[in-house]
């Protein structure tokens, strides 16, 4: 079930109303049932995959707590991790790895038949797999008690607001919340609804409108001029941000309406002054996951310089692969890793350079340069991320600044009349974010007289309704 569907508009109020009417004993059962219904709206049979991973990690958690021998404990953890990852591998990466292997063998003259499993990727598989894995590792490390109540554990993995696209929660933050009583708090409910409205604005008004342009151009960039390719790439930077952070806003808001707190996933990442900062503000639940469960166990930065660089590149490559079974994603991850490595290696040199120009750390000009550089670097990396193939990405890179034709801006799906709406929506987003960084907009609006406040809310909702795109576009991150 998509958040931006009529089905969800009926589902969510019904689930919320019944949730608050039930006694504590039945609430978690109700959330689990609702989450199953939510997930089965995509492909019902795929619930079995979830059941398998949930069972594996539920049992593993209990045994991990029981077993005292560290060696056995470690073996148990790895068995659990590998079993969970096997599901991910079969559904998501089998075709990719066999295809790559056969391709590589072909280079050496071995022409092997390519085994293919043509199955649809279960929605949100990477998300709930990672959430399950974090539970197993945390139990292994002794930082989380094993959950004995199967219903509670299953709800932790399947909690519908964040089931298919995160935030990827940690058991320490979410699991205990299913045992707590969530009273109906007007502030939670109204704040949650406002957060959802903001998420819908990002998704429906910005991301889905820009997607019309981006999809047209990136489906065959060779058919478009340099200006269109450049615009599509710029649009994609906003599309992916608004799509994914919009989803997170809706997820966090929906959970808040039910009285749950999910972790923040985005903190205005395009305002970052460095790539390192960008990754502290972009998809925080995933980047911290990789930090805690891949980068740090590899040794992090407490190793030799060479090993540290390798750790960074490896972590980012795996992170790229997590996003999709395609070399473009691996390259995107690697590129970000290279950005980080280069950033760290040249830090002193850059400081000296800025110093020689009289641009000290807190000067506005220096910040503007750093912000622009970070945005451009991220923007360039999105080309690799969005392109269908490395060949397409190379084409886009080489045609960004060539053959600009201002007579041909529109595409088949995105007519010129949509451009002012898209531009105004992006501007509104930036103003909203800037305002929110200066003052808390919700509390500012909350102090207004009720008539003005309601007029503002109603105008906002009506604007989302009137300027939204409702072509039932999936959230980009659903595929990951």
């Amino acid at each position: 079930m998509l958040f931006n569907s009529i089905a969800f508009a009926i589902f969510f109020p019904a689930v919320t109303a019944i949730f608050y009417l039930l006694s504590q004993r039945w609430r978690v059962h109700w959330l689990l049932a609702a989450s199953c219904f939510f997930y089965m709206a995509f492909i019902p049979a795929y619930i079995l995959i979830l059941v398998v991973t949930i069972l594996i990690d539920y049992v593993a958690g209990i045994y991990l707590e029981r077993v005292q021998d560290p060696k056995k404990k470690k073996v148990l953890m790895w068995v659990s991790i590998l079993s969970t990852c096997m599901v991910l591998f079969i559904f998501k990466y089998f075709d990719f790895f066999t295809g790559s292997f056969v391709g590589l063998a072909g280079i050496f003259g071995w022409h092997l038949p390519r085994p293919v499993i043509s199955i649809i990727l279960p929605i949100g598989l990477s998300f709930h797999t990672f959430q399950s894995l974090s539970y197993v590792v945390e139990v292994y490390r002794g930082r989380q008690k094993a959950e004995r109540n199967f219903v509670v554990y299953a709800t932790y993995v399947m909690f519908f607001p964040q089931l298919v696209a995160g935030p990827i929660e940690r058991p320490q933050n979410l699991l205990h919340q299913f045992r707590e009583w969530h009273a109906f708090h007007s502030t939670d409910v109204t704040s949650g609804l406002k957060r959802m409205a903001w998420g819908f604005f990002k998704k429906l008004v910005i991301a889905d409108r820009l997607a019309l342009y981006v999809n047209d151009v990136y489906s065959a960039p060779q058919n478009f001029n340099g200006l269109q390719v450049t615009m599509a790439t710029l649009f994609f930077a906003y599309q992916i941000y608004c799509d994914f952070s919009g989803y997170s806003d809706i997820a966090i808001g929906a959970a808040q309406v039910l009285g749950f707190r999910l972790m923040e996933n985005f903190k205005t990442p395009y305002y970052s002054l460095s790539i390192s900062e960008f990754w502290q503000r972009w998809h925080i639940s995933l980047s911290t996951w990789f930090r805690d469960y891949v980068y740090v166990p590899l040794g992090g930065n407490r190793v030799s310089k060479g090993q540290h660089i390798m750790n960074l590149l490896l972590t980012f490559s795996v992170s790229g692969l997590w996003h999709g079974a395609n070399w473009t994603y691996v390259l995107w991850g690697l590129l970000n890793g290279l950005y980080l490595v280069t950033g760290r290696l040249t830090k002193d040199w850059r400081n000296r350079f800025y110093g020689s120009l009289g641009l000290h750390e807190h000067t506005l000009t220096r910040k503007a340069i750093m912000l622009s550089t970070t945005f451009v670097l991220t923007w360039m990396a999105w080309i690799v991320f969005r392109a269908r193939s490395i060949g397409d990405a190379a084409y886009v890179f080489t045609h960004l600044a060539t053959g600009w034709d201002f007579q041909h801006i529109a595409t088949q799906q995105f007519l010129l009349r949509q451009l002012p709406v898209a531009a105004a929506a992006i501007l509104a987003l930036e103003i909203g974010q800037l305002l929110n960084s200066a003052v808390s907009v919700p509390s500012f609006v909350g102090k207004m007289p009720i008539a003005a406040r309601w007029a503002l809310y109603a105008s906002f909702v009506m604007s989302v309704l009137m300027f939204g795109v409702y072509k039932q576009m999936q959230f980009i991150y659903f595929q990951f």
Partner: protein, 374 residues
């Protein structure tokens, strides 16, 4: 996160759960707890009422906006909406009516036809409409206007392909009260009821062109620039790359389906005209010559056109070999003439009609007028 056992938690629980968990209290404490509990519940109820009220206002707003937009679009006097309004308000009443797809819309200039034939004319061509939608629109026309003497129905290579989805549905949204139009749309899209009954659905969910803004402007008396002359929408464009892409993407040529349902719709069109005593003429308007070669089953399609024409005694004028069919200066793409091409073609077809009417009056009963090469 709120802690278990807090007042907040206790007061918000169901009464049965609360009473089971509370230790015994003296009457003063009990009274105070009951009062606080009542206050919290009152606050919660107030919140629910507010949320309900807010969403209620939104629903009312949506209905009001929908009514304003529909009314505004129906007031527009120019452009495609203006043409549709004239039709649905019964203000056309032309003697010659042209029906068809976007090819009809862009090829037949009723002003030229009126000037040359001396009879009033109107173009009912619709962008993205297949024959099923074209017939539905003709029926709507007939319901509100005097019956025309002649219907010139423009044929396309895709005439026998039925509509898969409603193209530009907002163009129909203000007129869904018309039963035949609504039923035809429902055949294509069973969810069209949403556009009729769910406020704003037809304008914001189904439409990507912000027609609702036109509606709001129309409500205050504003009409867009006229680009629809008696229903005719000329395309002032030069030859585009569309055909080159089409050819590159289909090196083996293209085929258009001949669906049984498509043939039935054509028969329905003929039946409607015959029942209303309207003379029907089939015209295959010019198509770029290279496209004709690219269409692999063109002979089959034309065989069906001829079979229908002969079976129902309908004249068929084929402009495939039009004098400028190979000249890109007269086309926008393989299917559509540009404004220059449309002007020349309208002139040709109007002269053809004049000659046809003259022949008819000279020799009553002469139905088979020789297909005239351009």
């Amino acid at each position: 996160m709120r802690k278990e056992g807090s007042f907040d938690r206790v007061f918000s629980q169901n009464a049965s759960t609360v009473s089971a968990e509370l230790p015994s209290l003296d009457s003063e404490e009990e009274k105070s707890i009951t009062e606080e509990k009542a206050a919290v519940m009152a606050e919660q109820w107030k919140t629910l009422q507010r949320i309900g009220c807010f969403f209620g206002i939104l629903v009312v707003l949506a209905f009001v906006m929908n009514a304003i937009i529909t009314s505004g679009l129906r007031r527009i006097k120019t452009s495609a909406f203006g043409a549709s309004n004239q039709i649905m308000n019964g203000k056309v009443n032309a003697e010659i009516v042209v029906t068809g797809s976007s090819r009809a819309l862009a090829h037949y200039d009723p002003r030229t036809i009126e000037q040359i034939t001396g009879r009033t004319a109107f173009n009912l061509g619709r962008n993205g409409a297949q024959t099923d939608m074209q017939v539905a629109f003709l029926k709507a026309y007939l319901a509100y206007n005097r019956k025309p003497k002649v219907v010139v129905h423009n044929l396309d290579a895709f005439t026998f392909v039925t509509t898969r989805e409603v193209y530009d549905p907002a163009k129909y949204a203000p007129y869904l009260y018309d039963r035949s139009l609504y039923n035809a749309l429902r055949e294509i899209d069973p969810n069209i009821w949403r556009s009729r009954y769910v406020p704003l659905y037809g304008y914001v969910v189904e439409d990507m062109n912000f027609s609702w803004i036109l509606g709001l402007k129309g409500f205050w008396g504003w009409s867009p620039r006229e680009d629809c002359f008696l229903g005719f929408n000329p395309r002032s464009k030069k030859w585009t790359d569309d055909f080159r892409h089409l050819k590159a993407n289909n090196p083996g040529g293209v085929r258009f389906e001949i669906e049984a349902a498509g043939i039935e719709v054509m028969e329905d069109l003929i039946r409607v005209c015959q029942q209303n005593g309207i003379e029907l003429i089939f015209v295959y308007s010019p198509e770029y010559i290279e496209m004709q070669a690219l269409t692999k089953n063109r002979a089959d399609i034309f065989e069906h056109f001829h079979e229908l024409a002969e079976r129902f005694d309908v004249p068929l004028w084929d402009y495939s070999s039009w004098k400028y069919a190979g000249n890109q200066d007269f086309f926008q793409n393989s299917q559509h003439l540009n404004a220059t091409g449309a002007a020349v073609f309208s002139d040709d077809v109007a002269n053809h009609l004049t000659a046809y009417f003259a022949a008819q009056s000279n020799a009553a009963g002469l139905r088979r007028f020789p297909a005239q090469g351009p």
